[in-house]
């Protein structure tokens, strides 16, 4: 089965997954996804900046009902999913969470992974970024 990333501009690499944002050369502000101007200062230029792959869960919730389009459900149909913000130190990133409900808590060490978002009409599996439990982290 062929796979592709939901939007290549979000990723620095696919395997292992690594997200890429941008960093302001003047004030150091890190943003995600990339943008060409700094939302904080008007002085700097923005350069590509790979984000850390592990961090801690900052907040979380569940999406219990199927969102309206332009959301695209996975091939097997909508299933409730968790999402949250992950604190990567220099920036907090919003993401899907691949974490069992019983384990989810603020402060949980997490690591970047990918999950199925949906399938293209030609059957290609489309992957988006997510964070799962970091079994190595937090020790």
């Amino acid at each position: 089965m062929t796979t592709r990333l939901i939007d290549e501009t979000l990723f620095d690499s696919a395997d292992p997954p690594r997200l890429v944002g941008a960093r302001c050369t003047a004030c150091g502000t890190v943003v995600f996804p990339r943008q060409d101007s700094c939302p904080r200062c008007s002085d700097g230029t923005m350069s590509a900046h790979a984000l850390p792959s592990s961090g801690r869960l900052w907040s979380w919730t569940l999406q219990a009902f199927p969102p309206k389009p332009p959301y695209r459900p996975p091939a097997g149909g909508f299933e409730p999913y968790h999402l949250g913000y992950v604190d990567l130190g220099e920036v907090l990133v919003e993401a899907r969470l691949a974490i069992p409900r019983a384990e989810i808590r603020i402060g949980l060490p997490v690591r970047l992974t990918t999950v199925e978002a949906y399938h293209d009409e030609d059957g290609t599996e489309v992957l988006t970024f997510a964070f799962g439990p970091d079994r190595e982290g937090g020790r």
Partner: protein, 384 residues
């Protein structure tokens, strides 16, 4: 400032909120305008400046085809949850600038059922954000609430108390949509939507319309026995470091909301303190938002909400009555009308003729607050 230069609300009208398939957004707006004009004892021909807002239900200025083709200047506003406040601001500024002595602000909407869906392009975001299921306002409210409860040690029961009071107030308000009281237990046990928020902790998109007649200085006192002074109105967009709806990323904290800026400016402009407020409207798209906005606007301290709610301090008979008409939770949220509903309720409270529960003790200072995407807030202080 002399009375001559002050702007007052001298009439208000409101079409009941809820669901009514027999009327369009424009139908409701026309009825609200006619009611407001009658309340002020003026005719449409007397209106020298108008502003109207609707998110999805038509161009407001086409209302002149129904009300009368008088040539009146009529500004259309589409400003999300701050639409109502923006119409009031446009009219008040026009009156102060001498364009007219009498103005009208109207807001209306009629939304489809179910949660709002937003276009990523409209918010400057990639398609991936919505396609992967991250672009829902309900998620933002839940994520901000979860973090807030964690940081301030507040229980989920406090969220249920907010909704319980909203439906209790709404049950006694003839213009509210949700008219059935619910217990804390029923609210906590209702369907999980985005935890910690349950089904009955969220408002629903709905329909409704509200209109206000505003007048300048002496004209206001000629028209109205008890005109309500627009003591201040402040509108702010977000600054760097705020935690907003539809944010794929956030800077590390602390996160300061535009609600803080707008409320500070409104209180400063009016020369009153939050502690002076005797009837307040605080945006309650969900229980968590009201709870957070109470502190962001300065009406209480961060973390104080649990005690405030448990003691009944935000009840109509409490120290600081909040959302006495049931707010968005009981009224639903027709985006264009929702902010003006707040004005309607506070004006009627300050005039001693609340449609629902009247706050006792002749309240003299009222406050309104809205918050919305993509990080806007408007606050007003109203006095008699």
């Amino acid at each position: 400032m002399s009375r001559t230069a002050e702007v007052y609300v001298v009439g208000c009208g409101m079409h009941p909120f809820g669901r009514d398939e027999s009327v369009t957004g424009m139908d409701m707006a026309e009825r609200a305008v006619r009611e407001a004009l009658a309340d002020a004892g003026v005719a449409w021909e007397d209106v020298g400046y108008a502003a109207g807002g609707s998110d999805v239900s038509g161009k407001p200025d086409t209302l002149v085809g129904r009300l009368g083709l008088t040539g009146v200047p009529f500004v259309n506003v589409q400003n999300g949850c701050a639409t109502g406040a923006s119409t009031v601001l446009a009219v008040a500024n026009a009156l102060r600038a001498g364009e007219a002595a009498l103005g009208l602000a109207v807001g209306f909407d009629k939304h489809a059922r179910g949660a709002f869906n937003a276009s990523p392009a409209r918010y400057g975001l990639g398609d991936w954000y919505a396609e992967s299921g991250l672009m829902l306002t309900t998620q933002f409210f839940a994520l901000k609430t979860r973090r807030y409860l964690h940081e301030h040690g507040i229980s989920e029961r406090a969220l249920a108390r907010v909704a319980e009071r909203a439906f209790r107030n709404g049950a006694q308000h003839p213009l509210a949509w949700r008219r059935k009281p619910l217990t804390e237990r029923e609210i906590l046990d209702s369907a999980e939507v985005s935890p910690p928020l349950t089904q009955y902790m969220f408002c629903s998109p709905g329909q409704g319309a509200v209109a206000l007649v505003l007048a300048l200085g002496d004209r206001a006192f000629d028209l109205c026995e008890r005109p309500v002074r627009l003591a201040s109105l402040a509108f702010r967009t977000r600054r760097f470091g705020s935690f907003e709806v539809f944010s794929p990323w956030l800077p590390p904290g602390p996160h300061r909301s535009p609600s803080v800026d707008a409320a500070e400016a409104a209180f400063r402009g009016a020369g009153v303190r939050p502690a002076d407020v005797r009837v307040a409207q605080v945006q309650d798209t969900d229980s968590g938002s009201e709870l957070i906005h109470l502190a962001e606007t300065g009406l209480c301290a961060h973390g104080e909400q649990e005690r405030l709610l448990a003691a009944g301090d935000t009840d109509p008979t409490g120290r600081i009555p909040v959302n006495t008409d049931g707010g968005c939770l009981a009224g639903g949220e027709p985006v264009g009308a929702s902010g003006l509903r707040q004005f309607h309720e506070v004006v009627r409270q300050l005039q001693g003729r609340a449609p629902g529960i009247q706050v006792p003790g002749d309240p003299r200072v009222g406050f309104t607050h809205v918050y919305g995407a993509p990080g806007i807030s408007a606050c007003a202080v109203l006095t008699v």
